[in-house]
Symmetry: D2
Amino acid sequence: MSRNSLGYRFKISSFGESHGKAIGVLIDGCPAGLDLNLDAIQKQLNRRKPGQSELTTSRDESEEFEILSGVFDNKTTGAPICITIPNTGAKSSDYEAIKDVYRPGHADFTYDQKYHIRDYRGGGRSSARITAAWVAAGNIAEQYLQQVSKIEVVAWVDRIYNIKSNVDTAFVTRDLVDESAVRCPDKNAASLMADAILVAKNEGDSLGGTIACVIRNCPAGLGEPVFGKIQAEIGHAILNLNAVKGIEFGDGFESSKRKGSENNDSFVNQDGHIATTTNHSGGMLGGISNGESIFFKVAFKPTSSIKKQQQTVDTSGNQIPLNIEGRHDPCVLPRAVPIIEALTALVMADLFLENQTARLK
Amino acid sequence: MSRNSLGYRFKISSFGESHGKAIGVLIDGCPAGLDLNLDAIQKQLNRRKPGQSELTTSRDESEEFEILSGVFDNKTTGAPICITIPNTGAKSSDYEAIKDVYRPGHADFTYDQKYHIRDYRGGGRSSARITAAWVAAGNIAEQYLQQVSKIEVVAWVDRIYNIKSNVDTAFVTRDLVDESAVRCPDKNAASLMADAILVAKNEGDSLGGTIACVIRNCPAGLGEPVFGKIQAEIGHAILNLNAVKGIEFGDGFESSKRKGSENNDSFVNQDGHIATTTNHSGGMLGGISNGESIFFKVAFKPTSSIKKQQQTVDTSGNQIPLNIEGRHDPCVLPRAVPIIEALTALVMADLFLENQTARLK
Amino acid sequence: MSRNSLGYRFKISSFGESHGKAIGVLIDGCPAGLDLNLDAIQKQLNRRKPGQSELTTSRDESEEFEILSGVFDNKTTGAPICITIPNTGAKSSDYEAIKDVYRPGHADFTYDQKYHIRDYRGGGRSSARITAAWVAAGNIAEQYLQQVSKIEVVAWVDRIYNIKSNVDTAFVTRDLVDESAVRCPDKNAASLMADAILVAKNEGDSLGGTIACVIRNCPAGLGEPVFGKIQAEIGHAILNLNAVKGIEFGDGFESSKRKGSENNDSFVNQDGHIATTTNHSGGMLGGISNGESIFFKVAFKPTSSIKKQQQTVDTSGNQIPLNIEGRHDPCVLPRAVPIIEALTALVMADLFLENQTARLK
Amino acid sequence: MSRNSLGYRFKISSFGESHGKAIGVLIDGCPAGLDLNLDAIQKQLNRRKPGQSELTTSRDESEEFEILSGVFDNKTTGAPICITIPNTGAKSSDYEAIKDVYRPGHADFTYDQKYHIRDYRGGGRSSARITAAWVAAGNIAEQYLQQVSKIEVVAWVDRIYNIKSNVDTAFVTRDLVDESAVRCPDKNAASLMADAILVAKNEGDSLGGTIACVIRNCPAGLGEPVFGKIQAEIGHAILNLNAVKGIEFGDGFESSKRKGSENNDSFVNQDGHIATTTNHSGGMLGGISNGESIFFKVAFKPTSSIKKQQQTVDTSGNQIPLNIEGRHDPCVLPRAVPIIEALTALVMADLFLENQTARLK
């Protein structure tokens, strides 16, 4: 499989660059007969859209998507679904100034080393711009899951910088998440987070943090041994998202500080249904869902593009000071929430389809 | 691609169960003409072998591997390399007692849910026994890397329970790592770790912790955008290892608590070579290696099999107390060190091969 | 890999339907740094274009392609190349009349059986319309081959109905092929073929035939044992083309009527270069190119859409007479020549790239 | 996907060389819960076995297979099934004489060109010896098909040299096929074929021919557009078999000599079931099965190894006469019958599984 693709059964192939004609995605493997709700796709795109609030970049993208194929009378036909989103907001002139510069934290240097050619406009292929198409594809995956299961995926901002939140994974919804611009459903924390982001913005700096995600009502049995474990597939998808530096499942790093007797989740019979009394594992055993809620946290580094002056080198090796102009998010996490949901839904749709043939009926 | 396989260019397919005739691995994509050092393979297998010290399980496996194909006159021929390791140490009788029981923390329940049939002997397919073959394959990947590059991979135990170590990633070697049975090159920490493991063992309990890994001398340019980023490929491989609950790259979760101005690594010209002044990113930008050392940490939960009595249910749904007999590691980390190295080498060989055709010469 | 994709290293993914917004192709794996000649792409598209002569359908397609991604300053960047071609010539009204009818020889019935939904407009996904994008992708593969090797691919019409041609595979060129509208470089045969096609057209009928193809200057060593043999990869690609019912390599079915002593090609030393005295095998041994010219022949059934009245059933199972209106080729072979070249070039680029890592240098 | 593997959903990976320790196959994707009949596997292996009659090579292989993994209590568990067959009959000494010689019609030269190293013993990886494991895997695929459908696959020798047979595809069975050693169910033809083979054998020569295969009771809907058409998948599998030089589906090359009005199969309503009045297409439309019998023919070149003296070159480029000793089939077709069945069953199982998720229920 190509490395611009994700998934085996519900598979997306990503294409496009920040300032090319369009970015897009090709979905292959979506079963025929799915009723498509185009508004639902647009709604998730709008949550990722730049310019939503003073917390985000002011780059203005229409984010109007077009479905070129695979859909007929609002139903999927089984044929590949190609979705494109034009790059209407691209201002290439912003980038002429830095075409010969290696920005710290960005992929300029490594792309040059790898390919000996680089589309420097807006970061080209390495720009998070391309994730807009992932969000569209992820919502189609989600619509699939909704039509064949009760699986639901909700992500939110868990921490910004050193400001932690406290959220009940059993009840959090996207509506609750969207009550604050920062997309943290803990109102007190959300307020502090917004303040911190604005301070950083004013300083010409940026902040990182963590996003949490829960998958509820996942039936037991999803996940593929040995190299398709549910945590590995989700981890793989999400570690491909720009700025992500780590991921943990269930109690994650915290569980590594425990004894086995503290960390094991006991099985219990709840009215004929086998459940666990605790859920330290985050809903998975041996890489397969056990019917409990799946949850994980994702670490994002602070945005690499900052206005504060930095030291770097140009493509000729000269050391120079760098002042990045242009429109950048002081904190990417609020806009990354729907991307995490999209990637998670894509993986779950993929594993759901894979599981259909795990055994003879 | 199947979910029992790892990699695209240097690809392994895993097979076998804990108490079947043999476990093994099929390697496809290893270039022809590689000189194979069989002793080096055995050496890594011995580091993963049970019964090495009082810190590990006493299950005795010969770990004698056999190469069935793909090697002629000690050179690879380009044909698939099938390696088998017989399960000589399997004592199935240990497991008759628990064939109808769902052990907490294990995959018994989820395999039953997924497949409606389960090879219960020793955990069957979900046993870490199968990783022995990964270690053999990983060493072949490592020999490949050694013959075409200067890449070297070293892993060690970074923390057990709450006992942290302090290790210089620039100089740590496997010999230094092996100076302690616990495989921590910080001698003071190693001693405390060993004590903690023995205490847990005597209590019938188990401990988790973290393993660190460094990849040195990796050339810039490895890693494949967009869904084959170096952190995603390594993360995917390692999140498939039993007991792993999280992974972080570079400064990982810690970097998510920083400002951009603190976390960006400045580029600098070092005698005509472009380097970075710090390495918070862990040697990768945009998912591609930048020439600095790659490093990451992996969180392991404490071993699920403990002697302390636990509460669980049997396959009929009856709640029962569970006393696990048999031979188990009170802490899996010392033996997991060569597995982390193996998975890492496999990913790096895969990305190295992929990179050969990234551009026209 | 998905079944809408072809190739592993130089990989295309097809999308689009006959009367959707656009058809297209996504190319992944094309190395960075390739100089793209857009005119060369258009030239091959024009050879496949409808309405070229009275021998072909009069459906008018502009065949203007657009490259959405992966190309910067006329060079490939290593990113996926998305090419779209709008369906400007689509007249859906032509098809309303037959939306509830199963046309003989077409995929209407089988798509309904498989998907329970069908984009009936112009055959939808099963239309040969989608091969226009393959031709564009195939020409990029060809440009790659030209920049890294001397490989050249030429196809031509070998037989129409019962009219055979006689062509020297060593000297045939695309210019010679294009001297006749029927694309047969044997002028006498070409004239008879054209006559036969016009007769069939006037009768409301259609004709089949064979296309031959030669790959010259292919270095020895291309083709991957065991399930990637050069004949299997080419065969797979071409058997996916509409109307193809058979393929044979070298002397093919004829060689099955010989004795071994008649069919084996003897090796000979030609001035220090090992060659064969004959080339019954068509340039391949054990599925790997041997340095001789590769050649094969492809059988096409006559076009399924004919004006003559046919008997069929509608989607409700009623038996009805069918009179197909609309614009159809009385013989698809002249327009299929560049498609065969495209598929062949795609396979050769794929195998060429794969072979780069067959052995250590 | 690797080129030593076949299939996506029911996938086999081949390994082994003619004179290595063992040949084998790894099956991944076989659903859990399949009841395995080991005798049925052995029965097909015995049909492929050397030394069955005076028409075949006298190399003696025990053909005793061993299942290393993936089966528990005679049921598949969903884990990969590794099957090995030891190379007990290998006489490497037979091949010392030709280790520096390029045998006409064999892959010796091309492997050397590709890999710069070659396991010359018995043809190494290029030997048809490895197809024994395909037969074992193919029979498991067949058992799967039998337990989930009524699909049945029967192949037979259709022509040897210039001796044609006449067989009714609707009624031919494996028992009828096995009534003659040559595996042609037309008794008169079978007798003439056997005579022709013995004549060739006595002359130190060999014969080619065609094998026909029918798939009966295939439900409509199998086959994946666009690059997974049923003819392309079967064609790909079978063109990877040693000595195969061509394949045709339905009326194949013959249909290319017809008019559309002669070749189209009319749909008809047969008691509420939509069928076709003729079956020129061989049971497929648009690459998808239409419910009629699928049939195809495969062309085999005559065996390359013959006793008659041939001219060739050695690895140093010296021209030499070649007298091949050792044990070779004067005609491979009788033993190739179960291999064709195996490859066909593998493809059908793969497409059957793929089709399970073609649409929402």
